[in-house]
Symmetry: C2
Subunit: 273 residues, 2 copies
């Protein structure tokens, strides 16, 4: 009886927006006010997942913490872990929560350590040692469900723990997807990734070349014709994996257009087809 | 029927302990394991409130944020607020939570902004402008009650908000007391302040000159005889104010001795008498 599950929106705030105060303000207003309007007859359950923006990198420079990259990915050494814990779970998370509260959204900030929300394992050091990076292994769905039913809106920072006292840095897209899959047992989950483009584009030089809908079949054709930028392939592979694991829909679109995205009037919607 | 209320321990972790890893570890082990043992027959509800330790001050130096003091108290300018939000609500809070989780305590970290847990007003700029400092005005007791009954142990950082999007720096002792008073409507609250002395001393040079019990009457005599260090007077005045407002007992003792404190075998217990 899947159609009787309440709808839960899991919305990933694109990293770039955190560094743009006016755009962030607009996004948070949409998040706080539009979700209840989308489904006025039923409770609008929602979760916000955020990344870090440039603030962590800027602060690493100020503090003199060298940022190592391997194959384009940041290595989380001990000092960097301390930094991202402060910036993501402290500064950004608490400011997002305070802003949402001011807009009438009952936001409550959490890291993966809080209430054992997301347990992770440290990624193996072979072939590349990424440092204190964690891959999620479990979600405390009971806690999340209790918070949602208690009329709170979880705002989740991309920090997890290994259940042995160690915090771990975890990709925010992965957090959003992991939570979406886990919660799909109890909710009809709509997973929405916002970023700085209007959706999946056929031409990276044309910001309006948005593919409005992608199904498994059309995805195969798009890949065969090289009509999708290779940078989007992992995101889309993950989207289809989420659908296979029970998520109802995945949408990808511009953070400036959350209102239109929620109404299905902008962005790319990804479905089984 | 006050005797039928469940007992709630609100424990303030003394600031100094945060900078001593071995002592902190021992404290957290006591917190995680002894509270359930104190009242095996009934649920042991507890809340941990923490301050900031020296880490914020050390990091201010590293970041080149000048720390202004007026009459011995730190001024929270915008950069300092950012710093304490990162350090208190991010680094310290999440590491405490991860450590407690590893010890089997279902810890969940919160600032006062989260779920509107503690709303505060910015302190008036006259006669002294302390900057972004907040004095609590309300506690979301429903949220705290729901979390406790959901088998989570709130771990609270001393950051509040003004409900208009502004975070505020708030004294951790004040947070502990404010929560204790608010929750005393639903619980028999035991408020425990840990610090770096064994209790209230008659002789500051003799660490064992602990006054085991102080009542309103004995407090008057102690003050008349100048037997209490003036630095303790505000703490004790606040303790009696908490008792007047419904808190069952207030205890003050050494963070190294939490186990003994909980059993009433160490520290100073403050009661109406």
């Amino acid at each position: 009886m899947a159609q009787h599950k309440p709808t839960l929106y899991i919305i990933k705030l694109g990293g770039g927006l955190i560094d743009q105060p006016a755009a962030l303000e607009q996004f948070l207003t949409s998040f706080a006010t539009l979700l209840p309007a989308v489904s006025p007859a039923t409770p609008a359950y929602s979760v916000l997942v955020h990344g870090g923006g440039k603030l962590a990198t800027d602060m690493a420079t100020t503090l003199g913490i060298p940022q190592q990259l391997k194959e384009g990915r940041r290595i989380t050494d001990s000092e960097t872990l301390k930094l991202v814990t402060m910036v993501y779970a402290g500064y950004i998370n608490k400011n997002l929560v305070a802003s949402l509260q001011a807009k009438g959204c009952p936001a409550l900030g959490l890291s993966g350590a809080d209430g054992n929300l997301i347990a992770a394992v440290k990624r193996a050091a072979n072939p590349i040692d990424y440092g204190w990076v964690g891959d999620p292994v479990s979600v405390n769905t009971d806690l999340l469900d209790a918070l949602l039913r208690n009329n709170t809106t979880p705002v989740i920072a991309p920090i997890t723990h290994n259940k042995e006292g160690q915090l771990l840095n975890t990709n925010a897209d992965t957090i959003a997807q992991t939570i979406a899959v886990a919660m799909s047992t109890f909710y009809r989950v709509e997973l929405i990734y916002t970023f700085e483009k209007k959706g999946v584009l056929t031409d990276l030089n044309d910001p309006n070349s948005v593919i409005s809908s992608i199904t498994k079949d059309s995805y195969r054709h798009l890949k065969e014709n090289n009509s999708i930028h290779t940078g989007m392939v992992p995101k889309l592979d993950n989207a289809f994996a989420a659908l296979d694991a029970g998520v109802a829909t995945v949408r990808i679109g511009h953070a400036h257009e959350l209102a239109l995205l929620l109404k299905g009037q902008s962005g790319t919607i990804i479905t089984h087809g």
